[in-house]
Symmetry: C2
Subunit: 161 residues, 2 copies
DNA sequence: TATTGTTATACTCTATAACTATA
DNA sequence: TATAGTTATAGAGTATAACAATA
């Protein structure tokens, strides 16, 4: 099926060639052993899960993360939220703007240059429901894992400077 | 410093307020315990590492993955590469085109609709050097982890359908 | 009829620079 | 002088739809 080539001559044999079907070649992938590659792939799967969970709420991943962080930190500064989520000021503005336009968030001046963010009642309701669904979905993924969840999270945390 | 709020009244106290300095508030984050969130953050860090490793080669992450996969599977079909890397046909075309334009890859017709991809000599040289650097960088990250690398990779693999 | 490759296009995320105003 | 928020803009990466050629 798959042939390891040390000389570089013709690796992909046309085995798996079923008459009438498609080849559907299995490719050798040096990427599969790379932590970075596996992280990206796993992250993309979970992001897709998240997107489907958030679709009914009309929230993007970024909007949801903002909503959740403000929900956990009422009256926090917009600049602090941006730092915590690693979202740049310039990108945070329209993000906050959309949630404000939907009546999920309110802002109030702190010093005249800083803004404090707080969830509205509707925002809090949505945030709680969304966070519940997200947590449930997250737990479902963990349950399918053969390894301990805690050490996995710890390892991921160690990579985040 | 940080106050856990069960009632929702005023969580972020302005502790940490150093005279003359910036508040730099530490926000409570329910996201930190989510696997999906931690995966994304860790992935972004490693992607940034990768980008800096690839910069001297003038390669993007996508271009490098393509180069490496074709290098490991000389003569493979373009469509199979796309499936393996989960890159859509429409996006693969310009990716291959750039590497062809740089003389790193050559293609040849297989049946009149399929293309086979192979590295040129220059492409192979670049691929080998790039893969070496990537692998080295990847290992450096693993060394900093307190947990077993193998089980970590296995767990990540389990999430990738 | 399904697949391959291509083109065109759009949408999201992210990144940078410049500006105002405030501390 | 550094920070906060805003605006405008540009660049990736990714998504869909339509098309021609082929199996």
């Amino acid at each position: 099926m798959t042939v390891k080539s040390h000389d570089g001559t013709n690796t992909a044999t046309s085995a798996g060639q079923a008459p009438g079907g498609t080849p559907d070649e299995r490719l050798a992938s040096p990427l599969d052993g790379l932590l970075g590659y596996r992280l990206r792939r796993a992250s993309m799967v979970l992001m897709a899960d998240l997107a489907s969970v958030l679709r009914p709420f009309g929230l993007s991943a970024g909007e949801a993360s903002l909503l959740i962080l403000v929900g956990a930190n009422p009256g926090c500064r917009q600049s602090d939220v941006g730092r915590a989520l690693e979202i740049k000021r310039a990108n945070l503005t329209p993000l906050v703007g959309r949630l404000k336009a939907r009546g999920l968030i309110t802002d109030a001046p702190i010093d005249g240059r800083s803004l404090s963010l707080t969830l509205t009642e509707e925002g809090r309701a949505l945030q709680e429901e969304a966070l519940t669904r997200i947590t449930t979905s997250d737990r479902a993924v963990r349950k399918r894992l053969s390894m301990d969840e805690t050490s996995l999270l710890a390892a991921l945390r160690e990579m985040t400077g």
